[in-house]
Symmetry: C2
Subunit: 591 residues, 2 copies
């Protein structure tokens, strides 16, 4: 079987690039070390190989169906979901006293990367449950925790995040699902509808536990009147059906194995829902989990890009076609296409995107662990500020570039890539969701430029500057790579200064190119990750018995990134420095 990810690269990122084993300096992770981390990752690879990857194609071809108000998914998923529970994946990052393993998020997400690369659809089930359970355990009462989390942890029950409504997608402040108080304290009757609910209904679990946003009757308008509820499909103690009806099943372009439901909530008496935490704090709670969720989406995107890269790499090494441009003798055998410069360009592109993005995502994940467990308050604040700044970037860059990266994988295979005989076309379809999931790219542009840049008096950008400059100061790799990055970084800083000045001209002009600024920051941050990798590779190459092929590949890929991707900053900067605004001046009726 073609490999679907590079273990060598993942281990390089975790242990050589980021030194995640040093997380055990924090008491919470004291029992962990590189060995325990490797055990977790090996376990993930085993499930991925044995259970997930074999169902990749089948789950795409045999879509879930909706029958008598019940979504039925691929029968193989039941065993997988149970295994995730039994093996302790769902609550792995939680404390020992909750049955968890006190595993760093970094390692949990790295394990997730392996699962996602093997079979994205199958991988989403446990991650949604983890996210939902985390909301209950963090903000819910002891009673809610006792009632709901154990069966979520063991995989018997599915968790979901029920946010979107027909009239409230990106604009969550407009949601209208309403919760009516009952005589029982903390118990509400909820009416409304939710759309696009991932794993919102299926038959591989005994119950579905929705973490649902709704507005308590009479609550203030906008985001300040939104509360969070636990709304189970089945009331646990009585086994009675709650009023959560599966109205529809979406048919999607990709990741068809994961069912996405349209739910009608409480069309008669109202569905029973249990308030989580305080009234009107729902969106705040949800957003406190957003860093994890968004880093998670970035990870999904890069996992698929990596799987597509591996698939096209294997093909390029085996497929003979054509000869060197200088070879005119047609009696010579054809050469593998990997030897053509343009094919190598498409492979280097994919490698630079997926390994560079993985580095950024793991770097951000580590910040997540550090900013939670750091005891030095100044460091903690700095790390958290940097994490907040990096989150929209680490979500969006891999998501947007994942489209191009999987597209390059299809192109390497040519006509074969367009057929279902190879998995690259599936990866291409699956990758398209990530610029939409958990906030569109446009929303993240606004988040970065309209909010994150200004948080804590701009501390995030200040820390970013400091980190990058430190890495440049200690960098030892090839000078051309450093110089190219330095030029791009300076150009990027200039563009940032220009766009920040536009804040004085009102929000419309200031934010008109927020998406472009987000892209620019993505190139800078991933470029920075390549500087760090080239540095480590260079040092390693000087050691005896070094894996020269691996480290030379790292350096050449860093060079590729600087030669082909960094120059895009010039194009974006040129636009940002302009004072002309066609996207504001264009009238609706001119289209």
């Amino acid at each position: 079987m073609t490999p679907f990810y590079s273990k060598k690269d993942l281990f390089f990122q975790l242990f050589e690039h980021l030194g995640v084993e040093d997380l055990n300096r924090y008491p919470f992770f004291r029992d962990h070390n590189q060995e325990t981390f490797e055990l977790v990752l090996d376990a993930a690879e085993q499930i991925a190989n044995k259970s997930l990857r074999p169902l990749l194609t089948e789950m795409d071809r045999q879509e879930p169906i909706l029958e008598n108000g019940q979504i039925k998914i691929h029968p193989g998923m039941k065993a997988i979901v149970q295994q995730f529970g039994q093996d302790g994946w769902i609550n792995a990052t939680f404390p020992y006293e909750e049955g968890g393993q006190q595993l760093p998020w970094t390692i949990h997400l790295a394990a997730g990367y392996i699962l996602q690369a093997a079979n994205y659809s199958a991988s989403v089930f446990p991650f949604l449950t983890t996210g939902a359970a985390n909301l209950i355990r963090t903000f819910g009462s002891n009673e809610l925790i006792q009632r709901f989390t154990p069966s979520m942890y063991n995989g018997a029950w599915q968790g979901t995040m029920a946010l979107t409504e027909p009239d409230a997608g990106s604009s969550l402040s407009d949601l209208t699902t309403t919760a009516y108080p009952t005589s029982d304290s903390g118990v509400y009757r909820i009416k409304g509808q939710k759309i696009y609910i991932s794993c919102g209904d299926h038959d591989a679990c005994e119950n579905i536990i929705h973490l649902m946003l709704a507005r308590i009757e009479g609550a203030p308008a906008g985001t300040k009147g939104i509360s969070l509820f636990v709304v189970p499909k089945i009331i646990p103690e009585t086994g009675e059906a709650n009023e959560v009806f599966t109205e529809g099943l979406y048919h999607k372009m990709g990741y068809k194995g994961a069912p996405i439901a349209h739910l009608m909530i409480g069309s008669e008496k109202g569905a029973i829902g249990y308030l989580v935490g305080e009234e009107n704090h729902g969106l705040k709670y949800m957003f406190q989990m957003m860093n994890e969720a968004r880093i998670g989406v970035g990870m999904n995107a890069v996992a698929i890009a990596q799987a597509a890269f591996q698939s096209s790499l294997a093909y390029a090494k085996e497929r003979p076609q054509g000869r060197k441009l200088s070879e005119k003798d047609l009696s010579k055998p054809q050469i593998p296409i990997i030897q053509h410069a343009d094919v190598k360009r498409m492979l280097l592109f994919q490698k630079s995107i997926s390994e560079g993005s993985l580095a950024l995502l793991l770097f951000s994940s580590k910040l997540m662990d550090e900013s939670v467990h750091e005891s030095d308050l100044v460091t903690k604040k700095q790390k958290h500020a940097l994490l907040e700044l990096l989150t929209p970037i680490a979500k969006s860059y891999p998501s947007e570039m994942g489209i191009l990266s999987t597209s390059a994988a299809v192109q390497v295979l040519g006509g074969a890539g367009y057929t279902q005989d190879f998995p690259v076309e599936q990866y291409y379809r699956e990758a398209r969701i990530h610029p939409i999931h958990e906030g569109t790219t446009g929303i993240h542009g606004l988040d970065l430029l309209g909010r994150k840049i200004f948080l804590n008096d701009g501390l995030g950008w200040e820390v970013l500057y400091q980190y990058i400059e430190e890495d440049l100061a200690k960098y030892e790799g090839p000078e051309d790579i450093r110089a190219a990055f330095d030029e791009a970084w300076k150009e990027g800083q200039n563009a940032a200064a220009t766009i920040l000045q536009k804040a004085q001209e009102g929000p419309e002009k200031f934010l008109a190119d927020a998406t472009l600024f987000l892209e620019l920051c993505g190139i800078i941050c991933v470029g920075w990750m390549w500087i760090r990798q080239a540095h480590i590779a260079y040092i390693n190459l000087k050691k005896e018995n070094a894996n020269t092929a691996f480290f030379s590949g790292k350096i050449e890929t860093a060079r590729y990134f600087m030669e082909y991707e960094s120059p895009k900053i010039s194009a974006i900067s040129k636009r940002i420095h302009s004072a002309s605004y066609p996207t504001l001046d264009m009238r609706d009726y001119w289209f």
Copy 2:
């Protein structure tokens, strides 16, 4: 029903931008004028509306099947294929004496654009037959013409182009299908296999006529030993099955309604094939039809991008979500998303790509007509040289940008765009084929930089330069648009000069970035088309009773292109000016 193309824009391009009615200065087109052209386009729109568009979704969901060696397609296709024949679409461009209408290719392709935008899968059937019939009538004997073309023209028989083999895709010189002479002059027995044959078998026609490349036994190696044959599925006079077996049906990511076959040729005695023209001239014949075919693929790509644009535009006008960034009052109703700058950016992007590409394709189509019918030999040579140069560009830019343009359409719809509830996800899947069809983008990069640039001592580029400078000299639109294009154009010329100098360093270095050079030329040529359109729009705006909305939209879209797309030339130039070659230096085993 949502419109799937802009008639207003198509008519603008044909009659205001390109003045195609003046083609009747050539005797061959003497009976035509704007009125006859409009009748043809209206007829295309009627078929598109009545027959093609209604089957768009169904043909995607009900894929062709292979049953007992016979491919069965959507039952609705039979009537459509017959109608194309009966209404004279298949031989419309051919002379009156062949039953044709002496229609310019420009109008034929423009009509095709309408059909393709309505339903790409359904549109390919007649175009393939036209291409195959054109080879027979141009290079075949009278006997072959009499035997085969009438039933192809009337839609009873399907034509195909059978080039690709398992070991000969991009490298056609390596094809091994072999033709053995028989005692009948011009009749051969052929053995081999062909893959990816579009419409290579189906049940909507009575016979399938393959225009097949094969090597006559003992012919020289490489491209100089390839001959062209007519290989029918059924021998017309006897009704006997020829030895053409449908071995497989490809399942594809998109344009599922058009069957793509794997054919085994002559596994017993050999399939009967009739030589077209002279021995060993097959590839030359095929390539003489390549301009039409490649312009045709570009047109397919832009038609799909246009349909996706229209779909997302209609959605953006209707879908309320969020408020202006400056509006903090949540009691105000939500606004249609078209009013958000970032949504307008995605719509302007699509409009600039699809209308700019359509302009380039129709400009190239007109060159096709002119270079055939022009009597002044100097002009003829110039026009042909420019057409040769523009062909890889007009094929590849719309194909590559079609991916991004349909992706932007998906993004405008957000989650809805990823579901099968809207056609944009289908357009996204269908658009992915065009960078592969009729030569991959990489192959066209090599064609442009390695061949076309040097043809006729560089006449093509010289004519391009002259045309662009003339248009800039007479340009009357807004100065910022002119200045931005001029800067990009100069930067592009500089990059071209640099890359041409690299020819001295051997083919590997010279051609390493051929694909980037192709992209650069695409931006220049489409930018040039926007200069031309802005000029005409500006002049029209000064007229009384002008359609100000339409022409203002043209100017603002031209500005968008200069502000957001042209700057990409800076990024590509930066790369081209570099002397570092990671795509050459990277070793296979470093990946």
